[in-house]
Amino acid sequence: MMDITRKLEILADAAKYDASCASSGAARKDSRGSNGVGSTGGAGICHSYTPDGRCVSLLKVLMTNACLYDCHYCINRRSSNVTRARFTPDEVVQLTLDFYKRNYIEGLFLSSGIIRSADHTMELVIEVARKLREVHQFRGYIHLKTIPEASQALIALAGRYADRISINVELPSQQSLNTLAPEKNLARTESAMGHIRGKIDERYAEKRKPDAPKPPPFATGQSTQMLVGADASTDAVILGCADKLYTAHRLRRVYYSAFSPIPEPSAILPLKAPPLIREHRLYQADWLLRFYDFKVEEIASANAPNLDLALDPKLSWALRNRATFPVDVNKAPRELLLRIPGLGVRNVERIVRARRYTGLRLADLIRLRLQMKKLLPFITAVDHHPAKLGLDSDSLRARFLPPPEQLEINFDAPPTPAMSDFLSVRSGEL
């Protein structure tokens, strides 16, 4: 019999290649008035960080690392010689509660290798969530990985206990899957995502009707992961796939995970250094799609299907679209302000509010702690009128090449919440 420490070693190690760590976006609930523990609904908290710069937010483990499938990027595939282990549902329940009560974690992210069948595996995973919710009144965060081939009834049940459910796309095209993950099928994954989206939409629609009966609880969001660098897909293909998932199935997040060496390399997929900068650029591009109203073709097109690794994608776009600049920070509409390199969503809001009362000067922008060096060629202000961006493309580009260490930015970390998350003021009276 393997002891719990040994199982945890194997089943955490087996789970670490899944990049998802989010514990935000859940419905508001907490443990007041119960004998249990747990709360969700805030911004989500990273309780620790490992030296890979990743946030430790959830207890992320597999139920078992035995697997029938043979995905060549995965340490758990059936062709790997890794030691296999299996938790009982009670062991995972106990670990989750013990870790949660010590404030090590926000909750549980449970996934599993596929054993016997999709439905059998889903049942094991669901049993853990059911016990946590129903036996222990656990109100913390639960993220369950689901299997596209599992029955709709089981996916509905998983969604009832979980705050988030996910299915990993892994690779953005069926050709790539055929070579590297022969059991997986993109069409089936998408159809399962469509089904989940339907359930999530139902939950929100029912909630809005005041006299309708309470809808059955269901997760508030779904997410997925795509591997980067395991196959030959370009950034345009990866971002196109992500964009489709955001619009067609309204995913909360697409995670990009640089394919990184595993201790059990496959003859079909030789190991190489993980493309970390590319992964970082993809996250930046993803941000532009979701919060800055960019279209995939503006970021990665058929002519230039891969992102510039040396510059962030917004700056790259600006350098390719010089005629748009300079933009007047005192007059330009919000959509145009969002296109200025070095200007984020929050600072755009600040500028829009402040300029109602005053003409903005460079000193004002400096006080907002904007990245002036990046910004200056692209804007006009009351006391700043740059020459038209007439520099030839290479020298202008060279001017922005950053020192390499600036590339390390952690996009997994949720933003620090605003004060209003902690305070509630009842009146505006002093």
């Binding site: 420490t5 007041r32 620790s48 069926q174 993980p274 002093l430």
Partner: protein, 295 residues
């Protein structure tokens, strides 16, 4: 010039500020201090000494949020700055002032408030509860944690723990104030020293096992870790003792992976589900080929 000595709390500042505002005292004429040393040099003014009760003064709700947060900051200039912004919002007729993130005073308050928000967030993240016993009458588990916040945030930060850990008894001890929850009531007592809190929990080893194994040695990014988990927190985090070792051995571990002989694919086992899956994949592939067939 008037010197106002107050308890270092939002309510004390608010009471004094109301009075001063009613009396029309301009910000330049007031010196604020909450330093007990200085305090002994001055006569302490109490709210009871107020000449007349001021009419309610209308200020934006956002200012109240900001003031409550900034009040917990350790910077001695915060009281004066809060009063100056309050003055400008009311007597100065700059009601829109808080919309001006470009104003130096507003900027300063927002910076302080941001530091407080971060401090609270880190407290929510890095408090580590240790099991100390079980209440024999109620059967509730009892936990104690030690934390060293940078600012006086215990009262702002602890309602979160009440909601999250309602089902257990807990105390969070800090050098200047402690918070306690017994299932019914959240209450506060004076600060204590580090030695009052337990050092270890039986689960810490299992937690370290998890931490060691969730780390991916192939993507070391130390600066990203440290910007979110600065070293000053490490001494109270059970997992932090592993960090140096994990970094040191990472290169060797990756080298080991690169030198491992590549595994050939094994044939599919005899499993009904897998067979049905492969059959399904073949039908779908055939259907797709057919669709793209121009004939």
């Amino acid at each position: 010039m008037r010197t106002i000595v107050i308890e270092p709390e939002y309510e004390a500042w608010r009471a004094a500020a109301r009075r001063l505002l009613a009396q029309g005292m301009a910000p330049e004429e007031v010196l604020w201090t909450d330093d007990p040393q200085e305090a002994s040099l001055f006569v302490r003014e109490t709210p009871a000494a107020a000449v007349q009760e001021a009419d309610a003064i209308k200020v934006p709700a956002a200012f109240m949020d900001l003031a409550r947060s900034v009040a917990t900051h350790t910077d001695a200039r915060r009281w004066g700055m809060l009063y100056r912004v309050l003055w400008r919002l009311t007597r100065g007729a700059e009601r829109h002032l808080l919309s001006m993130a470009t104003d130096p005073d507003v900027r300063q308050l927002q910076d302080w408030s941001k530091a407080i928000g971060r401090d609270i967030h880190k407290m929510h993240a890095f408090v580590r509860f240790r099991l100390v016993g079980v209440d024999t009458t109620t059967g509730r588990e009892q936990f104690v944690a030690w934390f060293e916040p940078e600012h006086r945030i215990v009262r702002l930060a602890t309602p979160f723990f009440e909601k999250r850990f309602a089902g257990m008894d807990w105390s969070i001890l800090t050098p200047y104030e402690c918070a306690h929850w017994d299932g019914n009531r959240l209450h506060f007592t004076a600060g204590v020293s580090r030695s009052s809190a337990p050092d270890e929990d039986a689960l810490d080893d299992l937690w370290r096992t998890y931490y060691r194994n969730i780390f991916n040695p192939a993507r070391v990014k130390i600066s990203a870790m440290q910007s979110e988990m600065p070293k000053k927190y490490w001494k109270n985090l059970p997992e932090a003792s592993l960090i140096a070792g994990l970094i040191a051995e990472s290169t060797g571990r990756v080298q080991g992976m690169l030198e491992t002989e590549e595994r050939a694919a094994k044939p599919a086992p005899n499993n009904t589900y897998l067979k049905s899956l492969h059959a399904m994949n073949q039908t779908e592939a055939a259907a797709q080929n057919h669709e793209s067939d121009p004939a």
